[in-house]
């Protein structure tokens, strides 16, 4: 039973693939009706489906494909010219085949009550009989296909098997096997009557244990012809099988698991690189570094290759999605009375399986739109001096880590002014907003919910839902949409989609103390600005970047992060793009680009606004990954209620008098602390004291410290470690740390610089010298 189910599964997978291919070939055939090879190919596909279908006892499917095959057979013999009308019927029968196959997939039989194939069969027969189109669509027995009826076990010797094309041989074999089966059943009946009961029992036992095909081989009264035929059939099957063995089917779950493991490996690799960098600084010039470097690089190369290799196993050619479009365009253009040619390029471009599954619907919408709204009716095109037939280009190609899918038509294009007008009428934008809008922004209006420019709504498009859905779908894939259009020349829509979703390139940024990973696919660019570059328009902060005006928000405001850092002269802005919109996000620091593995935040935390997941960095810490779509929504809310300039003021605290400055002295010797305190007294600054590194760290968190004087040799935590710990906090990145120590060798000083000390004072020192150093660091 399991065998049979497996067989059925294989049959379905194969059949669906073949039908898809057939669909495409048929469209091509319509354009080149004389392409004999193409007709033969289609005929073979129909024939194979018929063969396997009959083997699995799907009578309805067999019946239908049989009649379809008859038409195709006639066509390949040149007795029939494929016209559009005939093609309609053939396509209709392909659709019925699809419906039956889907039914089989769901219910394991083909006795669907909803699918009535008789009318199609009648039409097919009419075509074969040459009566198609005339009123009498009488059904007649089809006799023009392979002359199977005349072949039987008895006369099979007369056939010249060697010279028959394989598909015909196959058909004959099918027929004969069927016949032999019948004979066998009859024989069995005789046996039942004649032979001993014991034997009989064994026989039925063996029989029920085997699949129908195998059964024949076990039967006693086998005619030699039959054996030969079986053998011949097997050989052919084997030949076909050996060609197909180039690929294997793998459960997607296994690939996912593999991907997870690679993810762990990438994390470990990042960590290794981090450790190497740390070690490199400390042991510069030592021999083992070179060796370590080699190992680290080779592991990192292998990991990357491995990741790409596994990613590739999950990749499918986008042709899988593109394949259905020739049919779609054909049907649509016929329905709308337009002439449209679809040119597909780059169908071999590969994309992750999960993305392939998501991309189909948006593309259908856009192709429909192009045919319905883009391409003009033939008369209009002629009037405009364009060729009567419109063209739609569907292209896919790689661009860095992204794949670009381009849908271009040579239709009527879009007028940005008209779009704005329409949007104002529908209340989607205000007239003021329209005025500030660039052409590109105006084109993006088509993605707004409730926006539709078609004067009349057809059942094809124009309900104003489609493009909105497109945008949502593309955003879910972290993709970007770009639209360009010239009136009367046509429209080009570009979808840029990341290649994979599991391991991504990210830009790491810091907002105040917190790090975030922003998917690089959504980072359009990064810029450094000064406060003067920020404008306020209608109570909202915007950034003027070349010819664009972008909304600007502070990331700390979006995520409600407490502001502890004083703003610096320069502001760092990440320009984020998603779907059709762009926004400028102020961060406090760019950390760099890194390959990250996306991990879920778990059931309890998933769905936190603005956060897509987390990743583990080289140092073992967790960094949150920004969910660009959700972040954009939050940012828009923030943009409406908070000015960036106000937000920047929040963290500014003025220090006026010397006593507003706090200097911390860290030294385990009470006497040394006293000496330092006395030295600082004339400056008038506030002084606090800590006995060791641990105490200093705690005091630092509770006090607003402006500079630290640190002894190196201390119990519990020494000065180097203390400096290292302090520098881990973004907040204290610029806090002046001054080492005050009697350790004066060069290597001590180097070590001090390494851990982040700003100055190095060796004991003994003069009061004046200490004062100067502190004053300089406090900028007093």
């Amino acid at each position: 039973m399991d065998d049979l189910m497996e067989l059925l599964d294989d049959f379905l997978v194969e059949a669906f693939e073949m039908i898809e291919e057939m669909d495409q070939d048929l469209i091509e055939l319509e354009n080149n009706p004389d392409d004999l090879e193409l007709i033969n190919k289609i005929f073979r596909v129909a024939h194979t489906i018929k063969g396997s279908g009959s083997f699995l006892n799907f009578d309805k499917l067999t019946h239908l494909t049989h009649h379809m095959e008859a038409v195709l057979d006639k066509a390949r013999r040149g007795e029939l010219k494929i016209t559009s009308e005939i093609m309609d019927v053939i396509l209709e029968s392909v659709d019925a085949m699809k419906a039956i196959l889907e039914y089989i997939r769901d219910y394991k039989n083909d006795e669907s009550p909803d699918i009535d194939i008789e009318p199609i069969v009648k039409k097919l027969d009419a075509i074969v009989n040459g009566t198609f189109g005339s009123d009498e669509g009488e059904t007649q027995e089809d006799k023009s296909s392979v002359n199977l009826d005349e072949i039987s076990i008895e006369n099979v010797d007369e056939l010249d098997l060697d010279n028959l094309p394989p598909e015909e041989l196959d058909a004959i074999l099918d027929k004969l096997v069927e016949e032999v089966n019948k004979n066998d059943t009859e024989n069995e009946k005789n046996e039942e009557e004649n032979e001993k009961k014991e034997e009989q029992k064994e026989h039925t036992q063996a029989e029920s244990d085997n699949k129908p095909v195998v059964k024949e081989e076990k039967k006693e009264p086998v005619k030699s012809e039959k054996k030969n035929l079986q053998q011949a059939k097997k050989d052919i099957k084997k030949q076909i099988a050996s060609v197909k063995e180039q690929t294997i089917r793998v459960d997607v779950k296994r690939l996912d698991q593999l991907m997870n493991l690679i993810g762990e490996l990438v994390l470990a690799k990042n960590r290794l690189i981090k450790i190497y960098n740390d070690v490199e600084e400390r042991y510069e010039g030592e021999k083992f570094l070179e060796e370590l470097n080699q190992v680290v690089s080779s592991i990192s190369i292998v990991t990357t290759d491995l990741q790409i290799a596994v990613m590739k196993t999950r990749m499918l050619p986008i042709g899988k999605v593109f394949n259905k479009f020739p049919r779609l365009v054909r049907d649509l253009s016929r329905e709308l009375g337009k002439k449209v040619r679809l040119i597909i390029e780059g169908e071999d471009t590969e994309l992750d399986k999960s993305i392939i599954e998501e991309i189909g619907d948006p593309l259908v919408h856009m192709i429909r739109n192009a045919v319905d709204h883009g391409i003009e009716p033939p008369e209009e095109r002629i009037k405009k001096g364009k060729p009567e037939e419109g063209t739609i280009w569907l292209k896919a190609y790689n661009e860095g880590n992204m794949i670009v899918i381009e849908i271009k038509d040579d239709g009527r294009g879009m007028d940005p002014e008209k779009l704005k007008q329409k949007a104002i009428e529908k209340g989607i934008i205000t007239p003021q907003e329209a005025e500030n809008m660039s052409d590109k922004e105006a084109f993006m209006l088509i993605f707004k919910p409730g926006f539709s420019t078609a004067e009349k709504v057809t059942n094809v498009s124009g309900r104003g839902v489609g493009m909105d859905v497109v945008k949502t779908n593309i955003e879910q894939l972290n993709g970007i949409i770009e639209v360009d259009s010239i009136p009367d020349k046509g429209t080009t829509i570009k979808l840029k989609i990341p290649l994979t979703l599991a391991i991504i390139q990210a830009l790491l940024v810091a907002s105040q103390e917190d790090l975030f990973a922003v998917p690089l696919s959504n980072v359009i660019e990064t810029v450094r600005i000064v406060e003067e570059d920020i404008y306020t328009i209608e109570g909202k902060s915007v950034l003027k970047l070349r010819d664009e005006v972008l909304p600007l928000v502070n990331m700390a405001d979006v995520f409600e992060i407490e502001k502890i850092l004083e703003p610096e002269k320069y502001l760092y802005v990440v320009i984020l793009g998603l779907g059709a919109s762009k926004i400028g996000l102020i961060v406090d620091r760019f950390i760099g680009q890194e390959e990250i593995v996306i991990k879920s935040l778990g059931e309890f935390l998933k769905g936190v606004p603005g956060i897509a997941g987390a990743t583990i960095r080289g140092d073992g810490r967790v960094t949150l990954i920004v969910d660009v779509a959700s972040l954009m929504k939050l940012a828009k809310q923030t943009h409406n209620k908070k000015l960036v300039t106000d937000s920047l003021k929040e963290a500014k605290k003025k220090k006026e008098k010397p006593e507003d400055y706090v200097v911390m002295i860290v030294d385990d010797s009470a006497m040394d602390r006293k000496i330092m305190r006395q030295a600082l007294e004339p400056l008038g600054v506030t002084v606090i004291e800590a006995k060791d590194g641990v105490e200093a760290l705690n005091m630092l968190k509770q006090n607003d410290v402006d500079a630290m004087l640190i002894d190196i040799e201390m119990p519990r935590m020494d000065g180097y470690t203390l400096a290292q710990e302090i520098r881990k906090y973004n907040k204290y990145r610029k806090l002046p740390l001054i080492a005050v120590t009697s350790r004066a060798t060069k290597s001590d000083r180097v070590r001090g610089v390494e851990v982040g000390m700003n100055e190095y004072i060796t004991k003994p020192y003069t009061q004046e010298y200490l004062q100067n150093v502190v004053r300089r660091n406090l900028k007093l």
């Binding site: 790090l515 991990k599 935040l601 059931e603 309890f604 935390l605 987390a614 967790v622």
Partner: protein, 170 residues
């Protein structure tokens, strides 16, 4: 012990199942949060670790401190002091993260100090008194120890709720 004794003992065990049942003991792990001692069933604990660095997560209640990395897995970290409205305290050498499985997910809780593994006979566990604030149904019962200590036993599954952490989720 002679063979006869063993046989006797076994017989006793067989004939007195009733008494055994009432002697059923619950194994718990006790810990301190604020001034109070709590306990959770030992089997709900995955592991207990020393505090490690965590990452803040925006838009969550203050008792969700954030997330941290436990051997490659990202776990949420819950501060039980904040959850129980006890004033916060510094993390010190006694502070621990207890990792427990809640509805199939590992979640870590910050506690002030571990006390001990406890064995409390079931009969010594009473339902929470009405005076207790048990709105969230997070208290399983109150255990009375032989030395007179009172321990609040927590219902692990109810300690945190999804809808409280991320409201209005789709």
């Amino acid at each position: 012990m002679g063979l006869g004794d063993i046989v006797k003992q076994q017989q006793k065990a067989l004939t007195e199942p009733e008494e055994n049942k009432s002697e059923e003991v619950v194994q718990l792990v006790g810990f301190v949060v604020g001034d109070e001692e709590f306990a959770v069933p030992i089997l709900s604990i995955q592991e207990i670790i020393k505090p490690i660095e965590w990452t803040k997560v925006p838009f969550v209640p203050d008792y969700v401190l954030g997330v941290f990395n436990l051997r490659g897995n990202v776990l949420p970290l819950i501060d039980l002091r904040k959850k129980f409205n006890v004033p916060s305290d510094e993390i010190d050498e006694n502070t621990r993260f207890i990792v427990m499985k809640i509805k199939g997910e590992d979640v870590a809780f910050v506690i002030d100090k571990l006390t001990s593994a406890l064995r409390i006979p079931k009969k010594n566990i009473l339902p929470p008194p009405d005076t207790y604030n048990n709105e969230d149904d997070i208290i399983e019962g109150v255990g009375r120890m032989d030395d007179g200590r009172i321990i609040t036993i927590l219902k692990v599954d109810n300690l945190i709720k999804r809808e409280e952490i991320v409201p209005n989720r789709d």
